[in-house]
């Protein structure tokens, strides 16, 4: 085994045993062999979060959180600040990559029924990560003060002001009244505070994956250099995809109209949020009233939280072929819902959106309990090891 670095100061080591900690929990940590590349996703997510935090910090040096000046300050960043255009692109494309990774993580969790048994905490943490990320993403979207972001904030604040009772009080607390001067400054603070919370949740997720992982089955291998090499490769591939998007498709998934300044006197023809908010926004828009919309969104997320109970298969049993097929259909359903809600509204898209939302809830509330209780078909080759989550 690797000997300790002889340059370690015994003085520090005797007070704060960092290198021992590093050896036991990081570089020398016994890990399961032959883990797939996708197991690096939580690490990639944490890395992306840190990258977004740093680029956000640089942006915040120049961003002005005041209605009417915010868009202009972002243009200043893009046009005048040295490499400002690149930092801004890092931040917005980084958000897209982060959401893609989180959606992939959730999809894998549903596909492999990783929420069963002691994997439920990890599943809840992943969902909390997802919800916090949606909030932070929406806040970032409105902070850009583009034409669609301005109206998204304006509509949300106005709708919140119209609610009564406790939901109305909460909405008023969040927005501070109708949208106006000062709203953006609040949104910046929420954006930063929730982003820091995200870092905490992501770190807790990684720790929880390790503590709830099943005991190592075959002879373990040290994390370093086997998994440092795998993580390095995963990061590089992630960076390659990221670079292609940053430099050649910087506005992928954005509504074009959001790249024009906000105009309080004009509502854009197409009001859509960024791509990662589309499915949930569609679910929320299906009910005409504000309170109904909020309940619909909560319901859409609640069915995900309820999966450990909706899934009837025994912990330790692999999920059947039919269930896995239906999960793929669910994935396609969510993608189709996003595409349909981004398209210009028409009679056909209206029907399709309702259809996709009904299927979404049907999948969780009806199909999952039915198809998971009696697994159909043999265990596919390459399924996750019995017992739910993977070890780190």
């Amino acid at each position: 085994m690797a000997t300790p670095n002889v340059q370690t100061k015994p003085w520090l080591e005797s007070r704060l045993p960092l290198s021992t900690f590093w050896r036991n929990h990081v570089s020398g940590y016994p890990a399961e062999r032959d883990q797939p590349y996708l197991a690096t996703l939580p690490g990639l997510i944490l890395g992306a979060l840190i990258f977004l935090a740093v680029s956000g910090a640089v942006l915040s040096l120049f961003y002005v959180a005041a209605e009417g000046s915010a868009f202009h300050s972002i243009q200043f960043i893009a046009r005048s600040v040295n490499f400002g255009w690149l930092i801004q692109s890092f931040h917005s494309t980084g958000t897209t990559m982060l959401f893609a990774a989180v959606y992939l993580l959730l999809f894998r969790g549903i596909l492999g029924s990783q929420y069963k048994g002691s994997g439920d905490l990890v599943w809840f943490l992943e969902l909390t990560l997802f919800i916090l990320l949606l909030l932070v993403g929406w806040l970032g979207f409105v902070l850009a003060d583009g034409a669609t972001g301005y109206w998204s904030l304006h509509n949300a604040a106005m709708a919140g002001a119209r609610l009564g009772g406790l939901p109305g009080a909460i909405a008023e607390w969040i927005f501070g009244g109708p949208a106006g001067p000062g709203t953006l400054a609040r949104m910046v603070v929420f954006h930063v505070v929730l982003a820091l919370l995200l870092l905490v949740v992501a770190s807790t997720l990684i720790i929880a994956r390790r503590t709830t992982a099943p005991p190592v089955q075959r002879k373990p291998v040290a994390l370093h250099p086997y998994y440092t090499a795998q993580y390095f490769t995963a990061f590089v591939i992630f960076a390659l995809i990221f670079a292609i998007l940053v430099f050649f498709a910087p506005h992928l998934g954005e509504n074009h109209l959001n790249l024009a300044a906000a105009n309080p006197l004009m509502v854009p023809a197409v009001l859509t949020p960024p791509w990662y908010l589309l499915p949930l926004a569609a679910i929320g828009s299906i009910v005409p009233t504000t309170l109904g919309g909020v309940i619909a969104v909560i319901a859409g997320l609640a069915v995900l939280y309820a999966l450990p109970w909706l899934d009837r298969s025994r912990p330790g049993a692999s999920t059947g072929l039919l269930y896995r097929f239906l999960v793929f259909i669910l994935g396609l359903d969510v993608i189709a819902l996003a595409i349909a809600s981004a398209a210009p509204p028409s009679f056909i898209t209206g029907i399709l959106i309702k259809l996709f939302i009904v299927w979404y809830f049907l999948h969780f509330l009806v199909l999952t309990p039915l198809t998971s209780s009696t697994p159909v078909g043999a265990t596919p080759v390459g399924a996750t090891p019995a017992g739910g989550t993977e070890s780190k």
Partner: protein, 240 residues
């Protein structure tokens, strides 16, 4: 048999083709900045700026541009100062540090002058419309006689590229409205193409740097990916 198949396919295509407008499909306009390896044609940008300054700037603002930014078009400091000095602001000639002149002191004055239809700010118009460069070109060249069954709103013009087909902006470009210094023939289509190029630059002045750095970064990362995969495999093969 084959001829029937081809004829059926051709008929199907014409029936299914979405709203094919009668446009010149033989000479598709093309801009050097398009594509993954595109870069700005500075000559076209300068011509486009001339058209912009002569025609568009009398009604449109571009609040995110400063005159000093025109150095990105290839003008030197003296030319930029001269361009700025030619612009008459309320308190004297403009300096390079000034924002592009807004023809109207406030939105109310603009609305009053145009019956409510305020000319939009053009700084980011190309980013704010899908396929923005092509959209600007199509808009400027899309004026036509209204079909007989359509009644135009007062002070509106028929334009096939504008959503709703009726636009409050009068046809702005005519042949030889400007004289190009480099001798290019100033047809209305050429002017439209050059203005579209200039407005593309206005919305995205860093395009050249972005694509150049992007190419290098992508190739470098592909190289690093291959190295990383090879190293990982080598490590996993060793004593595992």
């Amino acid at each position: 048999m084959r001829r029937t198949l081809i004829a059926t396919a051709a008929l199907a295509i014409t029936l299914l083709a979405p709203n094919a407008r009668a446009q010149d499909t033989l000479n598709q306009p093309h801009w050097q900045s398009q594509g993954a390896f595109g870069s700005y044609d500075k000559a076209a940008l300068q011509r486009g700026f001339l058209v912009y300054q002569t025609v568009c700037a009398s009604c449109h603002a571009a609040g995110e541009l400063h005159y000093r930014d025109l150095a990105g078009l290839g003008f030197d400091t003296a030319q930029v100062a001269a361009i700025a000095a030619n612009v008459k602001l309320a308190d004297g000639p403009a300096t390079p540090d000034d924002i592009f002149k807004n023809p109207y002191p406030d939105p109310a004055a603009a609305a009053a002058a145009f019956g409510g239809a305020i000319p939009p700010d053009l700084s980011t118009i190309v980013s704010a419309r899908p396929h923005g460069t092509r959209y600007v070109y199509d808009l400027l060249t899309g004026y036509a006689a209204a079909p007989s069954d359509m009644t135009l709103m007062p002070s509106h013009y028929y334009n096939i590229a504008f959503p709703g087909m009726q636009i409050a902006m009068p046809p702005a470009l005519k042949d030889n409205q400007v004289t190009y210094a480099d001798g290019t023939k100033a047809t209305a289509a050429q002017e439209a193409s050059d203005v579209a190029a200039f407005l593309t630059w206005a919305a995205d002045p860093n395009l050249d740097a972005r694509k150049e750095i992007g190419l290098r970064a992508t190739l470098f990362l592909i190289f690093l990916t291959i190295l990383a995969i090879a190293t990982k495999r080598k490590i996993w093969r060793e004593s595992v």
